[in-house]
């Protein structure tokens, strides 16, 4: 594991939630896949984790790169195929701690966007096929990496912790692209809710099913794991027959997103 990176929360929570069940072995070291129950039902848990020996230098700290994108797609597709004839579909739990997608020349040249599209499609297809898909954000959920790993979930849960962040771009790059200083970006993030990096602000947009307080987000203890399981099962029950992302549309948190849809519906048929 990389030394210049804090220990992987994704790996810690994946192990804790699955009682250290051994991971499925044919996946790359950076994509950890574990089959273990969630309460009474069978589930597949998936995390992207740091791999200091990753052959791809831009993907050593838990980023989602080419291999990770395709491997995530495979981890989800395997479940889809295996349960195709089953009435009862396995749950899929994305344990999310992804600092970013991989930023690199090889990655762009070989179509990293397509690797991520394969992962997005697999998750979205699983949700539509009736697999309950849950996303548990335990660390960073950044940009394209989050889109590929977790953002297609029926329900999103996040730990209520200072190092839990959701955003579209790191502060340095965001400052450069918007022609601001890093301080300027930080200042705006305090007043513009969608620009904030912290999880409480993200929660205000109405995109979370729950924000979960834990005693130790780095190395979860028994009580923390029990609380997380409890919340995951509540989310599972809340899904019911809903295979869409509609539950995220919160009239207060994202008022414009709701207004646009209402007015569009009124004009859609044109009669």
């Amino acid at each position: 594991m990389s030394t210049n990176h804090y220990p992987s929360r994704g790996a810690a929570w994946l192990a804790a939630l699955t009682d250290n069940t051994p991971h499925v072995d044919h996946f790359p070291a950076s994509v950890r896949v574990v089959d273990a129950p969630l309460g009474d039902i069978a589930a597949r848990y998936i995390a992207v984790v740091p791999d200091a020996d990753n052959a791809y230098p831009r993907t050593r700290d838990g980023e989602v790169g080419l291999v990770e994108g395709w491997a995530l797609a495979q981890a989800v597709r395997d479940v889809l195929d295996a349960d195709a004839e089953q009435a009862e579909k396995r749950a899929i739990v994305a344990v999310i701690d992804v600092p970013s997608q991989a930023y690199g020349r090889t990655e762009e040249a070989l179509g990293i966007h397509q690797a991520l599209a394969a992962a997005v499609e697999a998750y979205a297809t699983a949700r539509a096929a009736g697999h309950p898909v849950l996303g548990l954000i335990v660390g960073k959920a950044m940009s394209g990496a989050f889109l590929a790993h977790g953002y297609q979930a029926n329900r999103l849960i996040a730990l209520d912790d200072d190092r839990v962040q959701v955003h579209a771009m790191g502060k340095q790059a965001a400052a450069r692209i918007t022609q601001r200083t890093v301080e300027g970006v930080e200042q705006l993030a305090q007043t513009i809710t969608p620009m904030a990096y912290d999880i409480a602000s993200f929660d205000r947009l109405g995109l979370l099913f729950a924000r979960l307080s834990v005693a130790n987000a780095d190395t979860p203890g028994e009580t923390d794991v029990a609380a997380a399981r409890e919340t995951l099962m509540q989310a599972l029950a809340d899904i019911g027959d809903d295979d869409s992302l509609a539950a995220r549309l919160d009239a207060k948190g994202r008022a414009a997103s709701v207004t646009v849809r209402e007015r569009l519906r009124a004009q859609w048929a044109g009669d």
């Binding site: 690199g104 090889t106 966007h113 513009i192 994202r254 414009a256």
Partner: protein, 288 residues
Amino acid sequence: MESAELLQRESFVEKNARQRVQHLLDAGTLRELLDPFERLSSPWLGLQDIVTQADDGVVLARGTIDGVAVVVAAIEPAFQGGSMGEVGGAKIAGALELALEDARAGTPVVPVLLLETGGVRLQEANCGLAAIAEIHAAIVALREYVPVIGVISGPVGCFGGMSIAAGLCSTLIATREARLGLNGPQVIEQEAGVDEYDSRDRPMIWSLTGGAQRHATDLVDRLCDDDTAQIRAAIAQAVAAPVADLPRTQAIDAHLARLRGLDTSRRADADWAREMLADMNPAAGDGR
């Protein structure tokens, strides 16, 4: 190319989003939805002293293309780099969601997305990202019923989460002027350094991410000249095509096998990428 031929040609790249829509739809069929007089502009830009636009940079219209019912969503490249904010994102996601309802009700409307976008509008970061996830969800759901067409003409190209949306489209059409990539050159340079990716080296950038290269590597289905008639004909053919699986996202084993053996110390260039991505898709080459 003869200059006479060039003079006769009507550029698509130079048109703005509304003009593009007008040229695509059959005469007399265009009906714009949530037009600028609806005044649905960004609730977030004004708070940051940035001028808003009354359509938030997305033009939505229903109509027909060669008689096929379509909804076109055209992103305006000249407004905030075609970035996806809350309102523009909701316009596209909402239109796709309504198209899905129609498809399920047996009255299909084929979506055509003109993807000129740098991705998430960073001034509305998490609202843009959320909308893009909703756009992805709708495209995947729609493809069970209708083809979803993506067009990247330039000048902006298609980046960020919207490049993933492009990768989910049934048919992806591009010009040589277009670029398609997950990360924009400036972002890669900022995150990985100028030695990894020089954002001012335009020949390198187009050689790796330009429309011709993406077509040669099967990441784009149709390559068109910057010619409105030619692009319209390609779209008309695509909207009338039957629903099919998407080969680009199915070749998981093939990609993983090739990536496993890759010499990652090698500096990527266009020829190598073409070699590495050759014959990857199960149905590549059909009808191209």
